[in-house]
Amino acid sequence: MQSRSPGRRFLLRDRIALLPSLMALVTIIFETARRQERVAANGWNVPGQADRNAIEIRDVRKVFGSGENPVVALDTVSVPIRENEFFTLLGPSGCGKTTLLRLIAGFDFPTSGEILLYGRDIAPLPPYKRPVNTVFQSYALFPHMTVAQNIAFGLEMLGRPKAETDARVAEMLKLVRMEQLASRRTSQISGGQQQRVALARALAPQPKVLLLDEPLSALDYKLRKEMQIELKRLQHETGITFIFVTHDQEEALTMSDRIAVMSAGRVLQVGAPREIYDSPADRFVADFIGESNFLRAEMAGMNGARARARLASGVEIEARLPEGFSPGESVTVVVRPEHAQLVAADFDSSMPGTIENIVYLGTDTHFHLRLDGGEAFVVRRQNSPNAASTFEKGARVGILIGSTAAQILRD
């Protein structure tokens, strides 16, 4: 008896000491279960692999109408969009970018092809079964609800408990800095504030992917700049994959991790902003993103990724060469206006031309030239306070193109 007593006492003490850790364990199990439940409520359990695609568009075609004049809105588009990426669909109106966004959201269904969300085809699902939320161009805030009710809507529809919904709404209001306006009607707030509510509403249910349909187009210039930074911040803080649709190339370049340039229902190039700007894959991309000079040329010589191109004026310049060209082929050389330099007319290996017009733009000056071959060419030069322009309208000048400034494109 005597020998067992200390043991028993120890056990009791041990039990008491164990109690907090036990409770902690229970809490952890509970929390994990709840989190599991949350994922299950959304219906999407994300597989735990690194470096995966959030969305994968596979051979998606969308044809509107049938019979005699079907309109092909998307012509066999395939794009992978990575997790946590700020991905932009960029193109002129009618290029199919909004159609693609609508297919991802579920407002329309592809004629053929797959849309994979973390490996699962969501193309046939209705919008309310996709863990994807949209920020609409017109915001589409519910006018009969307050700001807070708007933000809570998605969570309510998912059947989340009231306490969780309230907490999440408060968190969202804080995230978009709208705490003071929670009980306002959406008609009583400004356009920029409506924009932020639309964002908060779409982010509140923690979608796997957030779709943004030209959300900044209704804002004025200054507000748009602010919101661009705000959007980047939100994307960074939430870690959600953003798919952003815009026709504004500047917006696309400043905000995106990667851009898909679209035209006439096709994706022409996918790449980082720098990649797309510096090495456009085709003439449309070079023309649509930034400004470009296009010169007709003939392939005079090739050496790996470099080529010598003979221009119409007879001048040969060195240019970057994508794959798949053969010598003697007639091609287009693209040069960005800021990558060319004005020099004296007799400068060695420069293209001769005449200045037709000089446009002062504050930060820089545009020189509109006519080459001796008859082609137009623009050179942009940054202005500096102590260097006055030495070139006059009508002057004969030379244009010097650096060996990395020019790129060959197919005609």
């Binding site: 309310y128 949209t134 589409a140 519910f142 006018p143 529809m157 779409a202 249910p205």
Partner: protein
């Protein structure tokens, strides 16, 4: 400086025509209301102010009965008509345009285009057959007839409201995990409410006011207020008719006013 826009109110004779129209429109009504308060038995000879005809009308059992019947029929007919009209409006706006849709509009709005007397005669013939077959001669016929001609009046404001509604809102609801029924209940219906109320009010007033179809369809002893008044005019005309008409007018104005304020608060 010349006016840049054509302004009709600046044309010669505009004020005269406008005044004339107002006088023609309101003079009879004003006269009717004034003589409702006449102390004498004439509707044309003023003999001093009195409320006796209002009291007499209120105490008249046949007036009471007809009023209650009118209100009950109007309430039931307007309710059913509004329900049907809401569904019809949803079905004709929340769909892609297809061949035959215009025909459907015409079909729904048929009572607006077919002369009322034609409908009345047609209903009389059909209903009398049914009465013979079934032996039923209750208020159901009146309700059915009123519901039918009230539908287009309820339909038009509801459809107008639906057409003016931003479809993106419903899309946004679906995007935020609302199933179709929830989208309807939480977004479409609340936004449609002013249209539904307007449709109901209009249908209610139209039913309350109807004479022609009611006169043909009603069974014996099923007087509504308008048919009672018509019957009275064939006999002795006392300011009691004016008093009833004035009360009727007050009710209509009240309904429209309430609707106006309800709607303004929502907007």
């Amino acid at each position: 400086m010349k006016a840049r826009h054509f302004d009709i109110s600046a044309q010669p004779g505009f004020a005269t025509v406008a005044m004339l129209t107002f006088v023609l429109l309101y003079l009879p009504i004003v006269t009717l209301v004034v003589y409702a308060f006449n102390a004498g038995n004439s509707i044309a000879l003023w003999e001093g102010f009195s409320l006796r005809w209002f009291i007499s009308a209120a105490q008249n059992e046949r007036v009471q009965e007809a009023s209650i019947r009118s209100l009950v029929v109007a309430a039931i007919a307007a309710t059913i008509a509004t329900l049907a009209a809401t569904m019809a409006a949803l079905a004709t706006t929340r769909t892609r345009p297809y061949r035959g849709l215009t025909f459907k509009y015409a079909f729904i709005n048929q009572p607006l285009m077919v002369p009322e007397i034609v409908t009345a005669v047609a209903l009389l013939i059909v209903f009398s057959r049914i009465k013979v077959w079934t032996g039923y001669s209750g208020i159901g016929y009146l309700l059915a007839a009123h519901t039918a001609f009230c539908i287009p009046f309820a339909y038009l404001p509801i459809r107008a409201r639906l057409e003016g509604m931003d479809l993106t809102l419903e899309r946004a609801a679906a995007d935020l995990y609302a199933r179709p029924w929830m989208t309807f209940r939480r977004v479409t219906l609340p936004l449609l409410r002013p249209g539904i109320i307007a449709g109901f009010m209009l249908a209610f007033v139209i039913s309350l006011d109807d004479v022609v179809i009611t006169e043909f369809v009603k069974s014996a002893g099923q007087e509504t207020l308008p048919t009672y008044m018509l019957g009275q005019l064939r006999r002795v005309v006392t300011p009691e008719i004016n008093a009833i008409a004035t009360a009727f007018l007050a009710l209509s104005v009240a309904i429209v006013t309430i609707f106006f304020f309800v709607n303004r608060k929502k907007a």
